[in-house]
Symmetry: C2
Subunit: 116 residues, 2 copies
C-alpha cells in the first residue's frame, strides 16, 4: 500500500478532504463564498480547534461578537468555545479550514522527523 494519497481540486463551495485523502488526524475543507455572502449560522466546537488560512479574497470573522478582518495570507486559530461566523467581503473569499483535536499534538518537526 502506498504511503500517500493525492487529491486534485474540484470546483465546489465546500470540498472536504478527510475521506478523499484518508486523513486520521484532521479534517480539512476548502471553502469559497461569493462576494458579500456569509456562512448562515454561528458555530462553536466541542473538542476541536480550527485553523483558517485565507487563500484569496477578503472578508471578516465575527468571533464572540468581535469583528476580525481577513485577507489573503492571513491565518487564524479559533478555540473550541469561540462562537464564530465568517463573512465574505466585496472580493468574495476562499479559505482552508483545518479541524484538529485540542492538545493532540505531542511532538513535531525536529522532535518528530527522521532524516533518511
Amino acid at each position: 500500500m502506498k504511503n500517500y494519497t493525492k487529491f486534485e481540486k474540484e470546483e465546489g463551495a465546500r470540498i472536504e478532504l478527510h475521506d478523499k485523502l484518508g486523513l486520521t488526524g484532521a479534517e480539512i475543507s476548502i471553502n469559497s463564498l461569493p462576494a458579500d455572502a456569509n456562512v448562515p449560522f454561528i458555530h462553536a466546537h466541542k473538542e476541536n480547534e480550527e485553523i483558517y488560512y485565507i487563500l484569496s479574497g477578503n472578508g471578516k470573522f465575527v468571533i464572540d461578537g468581535e469583528e476580525v478582518s481577513l485577507k489573503s495570507g492571513d491565518s487564524i486559530k479559533v478555540a473550541p468555545q469561540g462562537k464564530r461566523q465568517i463573512f465574505a467581503g466585496e472580493e468574495g473569499i476562499s479559505y482552508l479550514c483545518i479541524q484538529v483535536k485540542v492538545d493532540s499534538l505531542d511532538q513535531y518537526t525536529a522532535t518528530d522527523a527522521i532524516i533518511c
Copy 2:
C-alpha cells in the same frame, strides 16, 4: 482571554505557525521554494502524518522513490513512514504543510460542531 489568535503572512521561505498562533493540535508551516530548488534532504516522521496543500506554482514530490506531480490546488497526505522530498518546478512552488498526530481526530464537523 480571547478565543482566537491571528497571524498576518510575512515574507519568508518558511513560516511556522505553531507558536505564532498557539496551536495545540497541529503544526502548520507556510513554505516557498524558488524555481527548480528543492528541500535538500529526504525525511519521514515518527508519529505524525503530513498534509501538503499547494498554494501556487508547480513541482513534484518524490515519495518512496515514486514521482508525484504537484500543481496549485493539489492536496496530498503522506503517512509517517513515507520517505518524502519536495522539488519546485520552473514556476517555483508555495505550499502549506500541516503536521498532525496519526489517529488523533475523534470526531469532526457534524459530530463536533455546536450550532449557537
